[in-house]
């Protein structure tokens, strides 16, 4: 933020500049008062923990989010960037975390995708028949896809090559700012080299490359300067040559000591565990073994792509598993559907609230009772009075804003989450699995939700919390397991650990 840090040795005109940019959503401030400049021919890394505002900032530069305050300027384009079209004409190219690839198009059509849609061409359909354009081959070679034929369907490519295919567009779209939003999160070591080469060439060509990442190895391999973000603020801009991975991680973490008191519930190690997971393999996770005892809240903390959600989803019947054993109360459970999991005493609060959390056409009341409907019916006929009374109790108990007849989808994220929690607690599960329980939820509701979880544990139920927020893991859990590259690699007790410890363990020991 201090002007000195933003200054560039070459003293050139910045390729883009953020001037006092902020972004707030109802109840949440995603970005506050960002001043940042980046220059042609330099590589700027944006680092930060999950939820620090990195992606929001990248989207802002690309015109995909409008700033609530301040403005975004691109050199040679004096007007403020407000829409994606503005950014495109100004020469900003954004590569998303999930590669934007159309599966039913050929590789070649995907390479030229932006040019098809660009308004500049008066005969856009000709772009589709670009069969044999030598530039397609060059573009693919430039990103290491030398053995991919242009007429292959994109759906035949794996995640890594897809990402590289998206990146090949840098070769055919003119641009002066290239934004990479965690582009390497799903690429392998091999493609990682290709990305490095690409970034080097871009830099040499005078492009300003901005990449968002929390992986210290790639940050230090590529970046000239590092902008560190924390809780929506720009903390510091450092020259890579003058710093170390440890120092950057320190800045990412800050002194954000847990504001809430850590949980010190009496764990009952003597009692038989409620949930026993042995050698579970699912998705990218493997060899996962852990226990959740009665009254215990166990956390799994890991970065995006570490396999933390696969563990939760496969236990709860949302995703098939490749191997391993899950027991509830000593009984084997192999749930192939959420319904089966529920019968076995496992409830799963989804990370994807909008898609799986609640029925959009339903009121709060209808959503709360959906999983336990037979309890409010005799011989399949609903007992409206019993249902209504119970719903009113739940609404009061969980402090849900809006009555039983309000549509759940019209509520704020926090209140929606309370409705979903009420639904699951109504099912009285032995073990409740929470996947990112406070994602996108404001502070007040967050405290509510923590209270609910603790009360549940106090009743002797087991809770498994999957989270990408170290602070949450420490505040909410009795034990925190660390997941990295599909395996559980470490365990911490909140009383004797800091967010710092967790993040370091999740990032990998070599960066400490």
């Amino acid at each position: 933020m201090s002007q000195a840090l933003n200054e560039h040795p070459r003293g050139a005109v910045p390729a883009f500049a953020l001037r006092g940019v902020g972004k707030s959503y109802p109840g949440v401030t995603a970005l506050a008062d960002i001043d940042l400049e980046a220059f042609p021919g330099e590589v700027l890394a944006i680092c930060g923990a999950n939820g620090a505002g990195k992606s929001t900032m990248a989207k802002m530069i690309a015109g995909q989010e409008r700033p609530s305050t301040g403005r975004v300027e691109i050199a040679g384009h004096p007007a403020a960037i407000v829409t994606p079209a503005d950014a495109e004409t100004a020469g900003v190219l954004l590569m998303h975390q999930e590669p934007l690839v159309i599966e039913d198009f050929t590789v070649e059509e995907n390479v030229w995708l932006r040019r098809i849609s660009s308004a500049g061409s008066n005969r856009p359909w000709r772009r589709l028949r670009r069969g044999g354009d030598p530039r397609t081959r060059q573009a693919l070679d430039a990103v290491g896809l030398t053995d991919v034929a242009p007429d292959t369907l994109a759906r035949e490519l794996g995640p890594g090559p897809r990402q590289m295919l998206a990146l090949s567009r840098t070769q055919v779209n003119e641009h002066r700012v290239l934004l990479l939003d965690e582009t390497t999160a799903s690429t392998t070591e091999e493609h990682f080299r290709d990305v490095l080469d690409l970034v080097d060439r871009e830099r040499a060509a005078g492009v300003c490359v901005v990449f968002v990442s929390h992986r210290m190895d790639e940050v230090f391999a590529m970046a000239d300067r590092i902008a560190v973000m924390r809780s929506g603020r720009l903390v510091e801009v450092l020259r890579t040559a003058d710093t170390t991975p440890g120092a950057v991680i320190d800045l990412m973490i800050g002194e954000s000591v847990a504001a809430l008191e850590p949980l010190t519930l009496p764990v009952r190690p003597d009692e038989k565990p409620l949930l026993e997971v042995d050698d579970l393999a699912a998705g990218s996770a493997r060899d996962v073994t852990f226990r959740v005892g009665p009254g215990e809240v166990v956390g799994i903390y890991g970065l995006v792509g570490s396999g933390r959600s696969s563990v939760a989803r496969s236990i709860a019947g949302h995703q098939p598993r490749r191997g391993g054993r899950v027991q509830v109360h000593g009984r084997d459970v192999h749930a192939r559907s959420p319904r089966a999991a529920l019968r076995a005493g496992l409830a799963y609060l989804t990370e994807d609230r909008r898609r799986e959390g609640f029925v959009p056409a339903f009121t709060n009341g209808e959503n709360m009772t959906l999983s336990t409907l037979p309890a409010f019916a005799s011989r399949g006929v609903l007992r409206a009075g019993a249902e209504r009374r119970r719903v009113q109790q739940l609404i009061a108990e969980f402090q849900v804003k809006g009555g039983p007849r309000t549509l759940t989808r019209t509520l704020s994220g926090g209140n929606q989450q309370k409705v979903i929690l009420a639904k699951w607690l109504e099912a009285a599960p032995e073990v409740l699995i929470l996947d990112e329980p406070t994602k996108g939820i404001d502070v007040g509701a967050r405290a509510n939700i923590y209270e609910i979880v603790r009360a549940l544990a106090a009743q002797g139920r087991g809770v498994l919390v999957v989270t990408s927020e170290a602070e949450e893991a420490l505040v909410l859990c009795n034990r925190v397991l660390i997941m990295r590259d599909g395996r559980l690699v470490d365990e911490f007790l909140p009383a004797t650990s800091t967010t710092d410890d967790l993040i370091r363990a999740a990032l990998g020991g070599d960066t400490a």
């Binding site: 319904r339 029925v359 959906l370 037979p374 009113q392 804003k401």
Partner: protein
């Protein structure tokens, strides 16, 4: 967010019944029907005669039952365009198998034919993950093909002398067939709003993902709905054959379009999860009244179709007004 009663700490709005005012605001189809009835009364002396009204009920009941079946399927987010062919197939088989010698056997045949086809549709949609439109499109052609193959193009006359009795009987002057239709409507309305099964249909229709994640047996619910719809459509096929006195090969033609239109005009969303039986009944009546009126006014058959098409468009446009003035505009 709707913050209607910010000041009152009591849970007043929660307890509330929807309220007659709010209910009335959402009854566009009913108003269309009332306006049509008024127009009908003024433009033709013959409309409000007991003979014409009886006729109207007779003509409407079969398509009315088919519409109830279509309503259930649309509620799940699906669509069934095979209903017309199934009406035809169950009708000719009811009249033709066992020589149509017993009414009871005829009903059993018709219902079984409908149940079989409905269950097959449901299986393909739920367990094979196929698009309802394509599945039922195939079934439309298949069933109609069987009809023509079985009848070789000419009507099938049943032997039983009382084959027409259900369709012609009256209770206190009201046609029995109409009583069956309205009875079924009441039963389906109860099923939809008052049972666990009905609640699950709405959940599946609104979001299969959320329903599945909440432990709703999505596939079983879908199959059950298609099977039930098949039973009703098969029974409707028998009623039509009974009314006509024979299984005709073209029976049920275009019922799929009329029933879908009636369901949509009645306020159900083709995307699923939204709609009331009452609306579907009113939608059916709107169609019946306008068809009846056009006949009374001697409008040419060709123009009649244009009128009906225009009516569908008008009614659907009206429902969009209701949406855009609704309380919540965030998503459709």
């Amino acid at each position: 967010m709707t913050d209607v009663t910010a000041a009152a700490p009591s849970r007043r709005p929660s307890l509330g019944r929807p309220g007659i005012g709010r209910w009335a605001k959402e009854q566009y189809p009913l108003y269309i029907l009332l306006v049509l009835l008024v127009i009908a009364g003024f433009s033709s002396d013959a409309f409000f005669t007991s003979r014409n009204l009886t006729n109207l009920v007779l003509q409407t009941s079969v398509i009315g039952i088919v519409t109830l079946a279509q309503f259930l399927i649309v509620l799940t987010g699906g669509i069934d365009i095979s209903v017309g062919s199934v009406v035809g197939l169950s009708g000719v088989l009811a009249a033709g198998l066992f020589s149509g010698s017993s009414v009871v056997l005829a009903i059993v045949v018709a219902v079984l034919v409908g149940a079989l086809i409905g269950t097959l549709n449901g299986y393909l949609v739920a367990f094979r993950g196929l698009e309802p439109f394509i599945v039922t499109l195939g079934m439309l052609a298949l069933a109609r093909g069987f009809v023509y193959a079985y009848t070789e193009g000419s009507p099938v006359r049943p032997e039983a002398e009382n084959f027409r009795s259900i369709a012609t009987a009256t209770i206190a002057g009201f046609p029995v067939i109409g009583v069956i239709w309205l009875g079924l409507a009441v039963a389906i309305a109860f099923l939809a709003r008052g049972t666990v099964f009905g609640r699950r249909i709405y959940a599946v229709g609104s979001s299969k993902d959320a329903a599945h994640a909440s432990g709703v047996p999505v596939k079983a619910t879908l199959v059950a709905v298609y099977a039930m719809a098949g039973v009703m459509v098969g029974f409707a096929g028998f009623l039509l054959a009974s009314r006509v006195g024979a299984g005709t090969p073209t029976a049920g033609n275009l019922y799929e379009l009329d029933s879908i239109a009636a369901v949509v005009i009645g306020g159900a969303a083709l995307a699923g999860g939204k709609g009331r039986v009452f609306g579907a009944v009113v939608g059916t009546l709107i169609f019946a009244v306008i068809t009846n009126l056009l006949v009374l006014l001697n409008v040419s058959t060709f123009l009649q179709d244009a009128f009906r098409g225009g009516l569908i468009l008008l009614a659907v446009v009206l429902t969009t007004f209701r949406f855009s003035r609704g309380r919540d505009q965030s998503r459709r």
